[in-house]
């Protein structure tokens, strides 16, 4: 994958993410805050973003969404889980 392709992919992910996030916030703010893991203030801003603003935000070479599981320990438990049967209950 060359850099241009990469940027294009990132832009696409960003766009779907932002559109989904805004729709979620507009539909049910409380659940959206839980699902997106954002603060109420951020949710309010996303709620009021215009299409133009979203398009501008999206056209960056950075991903706008971040990895949710920021706890190394929890992630390790999920990744190297040899008791998956018991845990899945």
């Amino acid at each position: 994958m060359n850099p241009e392709q990469m940027t294009e992919e990132i832009r696409e992910v960003n766009l779907s993410y932002m559109l989904l996030a805004r729709q979620m916030v507009q539909q049910d703010k409380a659940s959206a805050i839980y699902r997106l893991g954002i603060s109420k203030e951020v949710a309010d801003i996303i709620d009021n973003l215009s299409h133009g603003q979203i398009l501008k935000m999206v056209a960056a070479n950075l991903l706008l969404c971040r990895f949710r599981i920021d706890d190394r320990l929890i992630l390790e438990m999920l990744a190297n889980n040899n008791r998956s049967h018991a845990m899945s209950q």
Binding site: K29, I33, Y34, R35, K40, L73, M77, S88, Q89
Partner: protein, 186 residues
């Protein structure tokens, strides 16, 4: 009728029907709405097609501490606490939202729906009454439901320290009357 406002009343009826669809018992509806018992009864019959179950609500505190129930309760409480901390949602509204998010999680993970709406509501009341408490696990840091009066300085949760026969009871294999996807779709 205590209700003078039609708008308040229609909102309450809407909330009551949502609660009934999620499987709430009549006592819960009586506590959380100002609607009369007769109207709630009618509403219940109209939605469910059967009379509401009679008898007391499940009131056991220990139920929330048994292994599988504890994990499900803790998941629900985590969602609930998150909503309280980060949104304006409060009271029964927060309980309903958290319960729906819990159901979604159950559907997504193809798990058994262990926690009923009525139990979830009871759990919230136990938390508010300081009978139960969310305690951090010393190992993974996740918060789990525990007796408020227990010593929990180095409490280790049921997931970090899985009991040997966890989730292997016979009862587990029986058909579960609560189907989370149906509850959500209703």
């Amino acid at each position: 009728m205590r209700n003078k406002s039609m708008l308040t009343e229609s909102r309450q009826i809407q909330m009551a029907s949502e609660l009934i669809r999620l499987g709430a018992r009549l006592q819960l509806l009586e506590t959380e709405t100002d609607l009369s018992r007769e109207r709630l009864l009618k509403l219940y019959k109209e939605i469910k097609g059967v009379s509401p179950p009679k008898g007391m609500l499940p009131f056991s505190v220990d139920w929330f501490l048994s292994w599988q129930a504890n994990i499900h309760s803790s998941l629900f409480v985590d969602i609930y606490r998150y909503l309280l901390a980060h949104t304006d949602s409060r009271g029964i509204d927060a309980t309903i939202k958290s319960y729906k998010l819990y159901l979604e999680h159950v559907v997504a993970g193809e798990l058994d729906c262990v926690l009923s709406m009525t139990r979830a509501w009871t759990l919230v009341r136990f938390l508010e009454g300081r009978v139960l408490k969310a305690v951090p696990c010393a190992k993974c840091g996740g918060h789990f439901v525990m007796h408020a009066q227990d010593l929990h300085a180095d409490y280790v949760c049921g997931l970090c320290n899985v009991p040997s026969r966890a989730g292997k009871t016979k009862k587990e294999k029986q058909a579960n009357p609560m189907d989370a996807s149906k509850l959500l779709a209703a």
